[in-house]
């Protein structure tokens, strides 16, 4: 995903680090021997409906084992992104024109269409490195770093976690942290929040680079309940500080009665400019999140049920619930099939607005980013896996991800009521993995 998708949500590449916190080298009987290299590689296609985002990605984790359960993991991910993303403006019954984020061009959206900005085709490269080893008789420690780069974004991060076993290794207590420093250099410069989108070539409301820091902390307990059942509970805290706004997203400034986007004052100049009045969004410069995650894995006669639940709450007043289920069904000859269901729901950020009412004073913070709105999302997927003749693991999975959102009733003004305001999402996820 391009940074434009991420930067607006505080812990941009803490996602990379959060997944570092989350993934653990499977302590299973399939583990490898010292001197061995293990390569886990996948190719991924992610494609949204209409002309929206498409992502082609290659991900690879190479792991080398050293004596006595020590390992070095090196990860590489390359994403190629194309497609358009909602820019935050609402649909209108007339065509709309927007200045490109770079300030050096414009694009037009047909009447009735959801405004999408297709400016960026981007490539992102991410690298991770982790060293894991036992510590004493009962502990395991993992330290690592991460870096990622795309056209206008640089992330640097460090992470560390430790786990300690108790009770004949039936209980494991773990703690970890990840710290990232991200630098954002938006094309054209970051716009001053809540100032208008200007004409092509006018960068008077642009400032320069921005940055943000994210700190993630996790503590958890894993408990073996029985021969067939293991459960885990984690508490996470995340604090983001700095530039959390999406520099490319706007809100439509609308008439307080009709709800229609106000036309710009004066004629559009020859080089181009916005047709209506749009204000760049503004988010707070910090964010605190708390999450509680629980998971259970239950083995029944060859089949494995994996169920997890996560609750998240933050000081932007977003609350979310995630419920996820995977059921792995073994087939003959080391093949398996695994259906997957995920249900997600979130409430909107306190400053989420469908549009800005011209007859009201401007709020301090406002964003129309659909990812901070009130929506439900469902994923339905199926994975099929097998072992090759060389005893290597292969799998394919196909998933459908669908988001449908709601605009709080009190935010709908006038003519907006008749329209489909929330940019619902429909995406296909297809991934092929090979581990050798």
């Amino acid at each position: 995903m391009s940074h434009k998708e991420k930067v607006s949500i505080s812990a941009a590449l803490a996602a990379a680090t959060c997944s570092l916190l989350g993934t653990t080298f499977p302590a299973s009987a399939d583990a490898q021997e010292a001197g061995d290299w293990d390569f886990n590689t996948s190719i991924l296609y992610y494609g949204e409906n209409d002309d929206r985002v498409k992502d082609y990605s290659v991900k690879s984790i190479a792991r080398r084992m050293f004596v006595d359960d020590r390992s070095l993991s090196l990860g590489l991910t390359v994403d190629v992104l194309t497609g358009a993303t909602p820019n935050g403006a609402i649909r209108q019954d007339v065509p709309q024109t927007f200045t490109r984020p770079s300030g050096s061009g414009f694009y037009t959206v047909p009447a009735g269409d959801l405004p999408l900005d297709d400016t960026f085709k981007d490539t992102r490269v991410a690298l991770t490195a982790n060293w894991q080893q036992p510590l004493g008789e009962t502990s395991l420690v993992d330290v690592g770093g991460s870096v990622s780069k795309e056209y206008d974004y640089l992330h640097l991060g460090v992470n560390a976690k430790i786990a300690r076993d108790f009770n004949k290794r039936n209980t494991t207590v773990s703690a970890g942290f990840a710290y990232s420093m991200d630098d954002l250099d938006p094309v054209g410069g970051a716009p001053t929040p809540l100032t208008p989108m200007l004409d092509v070539g006018d960068t008077s409301n642009r400032t320069g680079d921005q940055d943000k820091d994210v700190l993630d902390l996790v503590v958890g307990v894993t408990q073996v309940i029985s021969r067939n059942l293991v459960v885990q509970a984690n508490y996470s805290y995340s604090y983001s500080d700095g530039y959390l706004t999406d520099p490319y997203k706007v809100l439509s400034l609308v008439d307080g009665t009709t709800g229609d986007t106000l036309l710009r004052s004066g004629a559009i100049p020859a080089e181009g400019g916005p047709s209506h009045q749009f204000l760049f969004e503004s988010r707070p410069d910090d964010r605190s999140k708390h999450s509680l995650y629980t998971q259970a894995k239950y083995y029944m006669d060859g089949k494995v049920l994996d169920i997890s639940y996560r609750y998240m709450t933050d000081d932007w007043e977003i609350d979310s619930h995630t419920l996820e289920l995977r059921y792995r069904w073994p087939l003959a000859g080391d093949h398996y099939i695994e259906p997957h269901v995920r249900y997600y729901t979130q409430t909107e950020a306190e400053f989420w607005r469908l549009s800005l009412d011209d007859s009201q004073p401007l709020p301090e913070y406002a964003s129309a980013d659909y990812r901070l709105g009130d929506f439900d999302a469902t994923t339905l997927g199926l994975k099929y896996g097998w072992k090759t003749r060389n005893d290597h693991d292969m799998s394919v999975r196909l998933e459908w991800y669908q988001q449908s959102g709601d605009v709080p009733g009190e935010q709908i003004i006038g003519n907006q009521a008749g329209r489909d305001n929330y940019p619902d999402l429909d995406a296909i996820i297809a991934q092929f993995s090979y581990r050798f």
Binding site: M1, E5, A11, A15, C18, S19, L21, G22, T24, A27, S28, A29, N40, T41, I61, D68, D69, P134, L140, K161, A163, D165, K168, N170, T171, T172, S174, G176, V218, G220, V221, T222, Q223, V224, R227, N228, V230, Q232, A233, N234, Y235, H290, S291, L292, Q295, K297, R310, M312, T313, I318, S320, T322, R328, Y344, Q346, R371, L372, A377, K383, S433
Partner: protein, 71 residues
């Protein structure tokens, strides 16, 4: 207040667990690859990234535990 409740929930969950478990020689099922808390790290990392990019929440998973309990 919300945070206190969260913390209590975690502790409550963990508190009754300290004497539970299985004998070290009974971990055959727990040792299987498909019984690890994160079975497919690539899928987990991919999903974490997709959902992080499209939603307002992220992460959650922990580290360590389960498995064969060896060494």
């Amino acid at each position: 207040m919300k945070r206190t409740i969260l913390l209590i929930a975690v502790l409550f969950f963990a508190s009754g667990c300290t004497s539970m478990g299985v004998q070290p020689w009974d971990r055959d099922i727990l040792a299987k690859a498909e019984m690890q808390l994160t079975t497919d790290e690539l899928e987990a990392a991919t999903d974490d990234h997709i959902y992080f990019s499209k939603e307002a929440s992220s992460g959650g998973r922990g580290f360590g535990g389960g498995g064969c309990g060896c060494n």
